[in-house]
């Protein structure tokens, strides 16, 4: 009798079970992101620039301001990977320092602006009423003022350094984020889960930060990716017109300005820094688009 039945082998036991392995939101977003080739390429280029910015100067025997006028405008060689500039300074090292400044300003500004924007936008959306009206009027006024002008003025008051550029970029920079978050929160706070949290006795702080802002994280990240290139744009622009990062420190914008005078004789001097600026902004734009699509699959 006992041989009439035999136990099912282990692997057959679950063979009818067809549930997909469950994935978190971020895992799914990552899967979608990986399918976007341009975005992945952008990410790789940015990683390379970041590595060069951090470690590049350590691997080069030259300093950004080490002059060697007997060796000005040297061609590409083993000693000077990307040649030298008008004072015989190593272009590769200077580009690495330029990357440091650009990325520092880009990501620094994006972080500060996102933080300010999320807090102010979140509070305005959640509290509403008079507070919201007053803050939004102030926002309108800051937004209507041409930001490039007071960035320039702040640079002139505080001196040409990374800190002044960051201050200048961050005064108007949070407004887009604040408006975006405010809109999201106004929509989200009417939804059932917010009411449920309220009924369960959650504090305002908890509802705003743990429920509402977390649910708006997709648009927040997308907005954040837009902030990075605009800050890098501003730095390059300021350094190009001569009030950004001051000499002898290297910035891509100021290197392009230096190269302008020798554009006919040494076009390569201009090619390298401008290529770095464009590649970085390109990568950031593609990366931003990829992240936006990955986080928001319904959009298309």
């Amino acid at each position: 009798m006992s041989d009439w039945f035999e136990p099912l082998p282990a692997e057959e036991k679950n063979s009818e079970f067809i549930a997909m392995q469950s994935k978190t939101f971020l895992q799914e977003a990552w899967e979608r992101f990986k399918k976007n080739k341009m975005a992945v390429a952008g990410l790789i280029v940015l990683l390379i620039f970041t590595l060069l910015a951090i470690f590049g100067p350590f691997f080069s025997p030259y300093d950004y301001d080490a002059q060697d006028t007997s060796n000005a405008y040297a061609a590409f060689s083993a000693q000077h990977l990307l040649g030298t500039d008008k004072f015989g300074r190593d272009v590769f090292v200077r580009l690495c320092y330029g990357a440091r400044i650009s990325l520092l300003i880009g990501f620094g500004a994006a972080l500060i602006n996102s933080f300010t924007g999320v807090i102010i936008g979140g509070l305005c959306g959640y509290i509403g009423g008079k507070f919201d009206t007053i803050v939004m009027r102030i926002v309108d006024i800051i937004y209507a003022m041409p930001s490039m002008l007071y960035v320039i003025l702040i640079m002139m008051v505080n001196g040409a350094n990374v800190r002044s550029i960051l201050i200048g970029v961050c005064i108007p920079g949070w407004i887009g984020m604040a408006r975006q978050v405010r809109g999201q929160i106004i929509g989200l706070k009417e939804q059932e889960f917010a009411l449920a949290a309220l009924v369960l006795g959650a504090s305002d702080k908890r509802i705003l930060f743990k429920h509402l802002i977390i649910n708006a994280i997709g648009p927040i990240i997308v907005q954040m990716t837009l902030l990075v290139p605009s800050a890098i744009f501003t730095e390059a622009f300021l350094s190009f017109i001569g009030i950004g990062i001051s000499a002898p420190m290297a910035s891509w914008g100021s290197m392009a300005q230096d190269a302008r005078q020798v554009i006919t004789l040494h076009p390569v001097q201009m090619l390298l820094p401008t290529l770095c600026i464009c590649l970085t902004i390109f990568s950031l734009n593609f990366l931003g688009e990829g992240i936006g699509d990955a986080l928001n699959p319904k959009k298309k």
């Binding site: 041409p146 002008l149 320039i152 008051v157 622009f237 017109i241 554009i263």
Partner: protein, 304 residues
């Protein structure tokens, strides 16, 4: 409708006042006396400061400045002993000519490319236009200016690159100024146009048997172009800040170059005067565009 316009005007006026005050405060915080660089003795500097009213308390200087502004006086350059009004009057024609040309060019070409991107069936054309639209928003104006100068001015030697003496001189600066806005307007038009063609009222218009021409102009374009017109405000600001670099690259004696020169020379009153002037220009332009939009499209005031 009137309420909306009045509200926008009020915000505009407060913004202008805030801009002037902020600029004034910042300029007066700038390190050093404006006469320091000229190798003058201490007493000579004091005398000059007295002559220009710089020894007065700051609030009094502010009041005097505001009063002068209301009379249309933007101040006097300490370095060149020339009024800021004269400097602006001298530079404005060049900046306006290049700016307006670039602006018109970017509106016409941008909208055309945008619609083309939306209607074309050819994948190749679509990709080329998309590549341009991406390139245009990723490359700063000064980089475009430098490359246009290098390729067309130096290597091909096809067009002159210094000054604005003949119509041919306008080609490169205008192209450099318009390159970015064309791409932005094209992207914007593409998305609004695609959206507008899918609207129910367009299907309705087709079902009624309206001609393609009527559908295009009365129903699709009218709705598609409103967001594009809204962008014209920021585009004017972009064109003006763009002139700072473009005029430097192509040696055009316009407002942008005067402003950057004043910055490098630390000519504070000129920086102050130009900031106020340029800022006011941008604020007024934005205001006009906003009010125009609300007149074209009555729906706008409802969302605000």
């Amino acid at each position: 409708m009137l309420r909306y316009i009045i509200k926008r005007l009020l915000v505009g006026i407060v913004t202008l006042w805030a801009l002037i005050t902020l600029t004034f405060i910042l300029v007066h915080r700038m390190p050093g006396s404006p006469f320091e660089a000229e190798n003058l003795s201490g007493s000579a500097i004091e005398q000059l400061e007295k002559a220009y009213g710089l020894n007065e308390p700051e609030w009094k200087q502010y009041l005097i400045y505001m009063e002068n502004l209301l009379h249309g006086e933007l101040g006097i350059s300490y370095k060149k002993n020339i009024s800021v009004n004269t400097l602006i009057a001298r530079g404005a024609p060049y900046t306006i000519k290049v700016g307006l040309l670039a602006f018109a060019l970017s509106a016409v070409i941008g909208i055309t490319i945008g619609i083309w991107m939306s209607v074309t069936k050819s994948q190749i054309v679509k990709n080329i236009l998309l590549a341009y639209a991406t390139l245009g928003v990723s490359v700063p104006a000064f980089v475009i200016g430098l490359y246009l100068m290098l390729v067309f001015g130096v290597w091909l030697n096809a067009v002159p690159v210094v000054g604005l003496s003949t119509p041919l001189h306008y080609v490169l600066p205008v192209a450099a100024q318009a390159f970015g806005p064309i791409a932005t307007i094209a992207r914007l038009t593409k998305s609004t146009y695609t959206e507008a063609t899918q609207m129910d009222y367009v299907i309705m218009a087709k079902a009624k048997g309206l001609s393609t021409f009527q559908i295009m102009f009365r129903h699709v374009l009218k709705n598609a172009l409103i967001p594009v017109v809204t962008y014209f405000g920021p585009a004017i600001a972009f064109t003006i800040t763009g002139s700072f670099v473009i005029e430097q690259i192509f040696s055009i004696p316009g407002i942008g170059r005067e402003f950057t020169n004043a910055i490098t020379n630390r000519d504070y009153t000129v920086v102050l005067g130009f900031s106020v002037f340029i800022g006011a220009l941008i604020i007024v332009a934005n205001l006009v565009v906003d009010i125009l939009c609300s007149l074209i499209d009555p729906r706008i005031k409802l969302t605000d």
